[in-house]
Symmetry: C2
Subunit: 208 residues, 2 copies
DNA sequence: CCCTTTCGATACAGCGATGTATCGAATACA
DNA sequence: TGTATTCGATACATCGCTGTATCGAAAGGG
């Protein structure tokens, strides 16, 4: 019930942010579905009154949390795909992107939690698909200005962008399990190189 | 406390199987973590007494459930990778594998639930990594006998097998969200073709 | 066909989480 | 600084789920 625009806003904004931060940590540690509202409040140093004053359900908080962080990551990726004067230098972009992605294990956990959540709720699924489509489109736009031609197998820049996302998702799964970020990055680099160029990568070796 | 080997086994085995089947359906619908023991018992038509007589916790049941189904899938994949007299016909194998995978949306849901569960429990993670390593090894063994040479970018058959798994995982994520199995299969086919051959795929187009 | 053993249903105690209603304290604005 | 308003803490009632303990019934062995 805010009249036109709420009167008190400072404390509230801090509280909300604190709750979101604490929720992120708790979700990462235990997983959505194994987390109670009380745990989050405890972690944030508030009582449940504060929670219910800011959110109406755990789902709502989870969604807000995901959107916040996902947008942040999307910006980072966009930044890593910056064009130079002549267009996109694919190998360099691959390096930059793989360096910015796959950094925060906790984020991967929360992200995957959100995925399974979305996979069961059509409403949430649509929202997540839109996010992904935007990201894919951004990638496709940049790839369209690549210095070197893309392999034809994938069917144009759109297919190539799709492949990039799939590779990222695929590598993520392995990283979730073995927690070896360095290996995941080099491996993602190889994959993207294999997909986006016509065969001149740096064949290191993979164990495990 | 079974004495050497239990005396009554028939009813018990049926009960256990029924509980596992019901659990699969309930887990698929609601997600592990949003499921109570009681729900599973209700779905299976038993009381909680039956559950506690067969399992000691929800985690234990979940693990048993996953192992059962995962082994089943692994067998199907192994079958789809059968060699012909001269070795492995890669394009044909790709077709067969993509047809057997990505079939059951419910299984993808449960599998992903299990993934996030494993990602937080080192014990479970190790177990899942072993499963994956076995599967990857099986793939690598077959790829080693491919008719046509694999691209060098990935670093040998081992890297290629890794790429196959990553592609599968990546495509799975998209399929979880859009539930378009047909598209997922053709797309997986393209990806695998792009990764395992040196550039002679069937470039159809991808929307959405 | 009876008898022993095992399985699964029922009853019980207790915990933990939820959501609401109320009240004191902090905050913005005049 | 005074005051109206908002925010968040506390208290309360309730519910659902868990795990155990007990008991009747089914099932296999002799």
């Amino acid at each position: 019930m805010q009249a036109t625009t709420g009167r008190v806003t400072r404390r509230r904004a801090r509280t909300r942010a604190n709750l979101l931060d604490a929720a992120f940590a708790v979700f990462a540690a235990k997983g959505f579905g194994h987390v109670s509202i009380e745990e989050i409040c405890d972690a944030a140093g508030y009582s449940r009154g504060a929670f219910y004053s800011n959110f109406s359900s755990l789902d709502e908080l989870f969604f807000a949390l995901y959107e916040e962080r996902a947008d942040l990551i999307a910006d980072q990726v966009a930044g890593a795909l910056a064009l130079d004067r002549e267009g996109l230098d694919v190998p360099a972009a691959v390096d930059r992107v793989t360096d910015v992605l796959l950094l925060d294990h906790d984020w991967l956990l929360v992200k995957t939690d959100f995925l399974v959540h979305a996979a069961r709720d059509p409403e949430v699924a649509r929202s997540l698909l839109r996010h992904r489509a935007r990201l894919r489109q951004a990638i496709a736009d940049r790839l369209a200005r690549a210095h070197t031609p893309l392999p034809a197998v994938l069917g144009g820049t759109d297919g190539a962008a799709r492949a990039v996302v799939a590779a990222y998702d695929g590598v993520t799964v392995q990283l979730l399990l073995d927690r070896d970020a360095a290996r995941a990055r080099t491996w993602l680099k190889h994959l993207l190189t294999a997909l986006l160029t016509d065969g001149s990568g740096t064949p290191d070796h993979a164990r495990n």
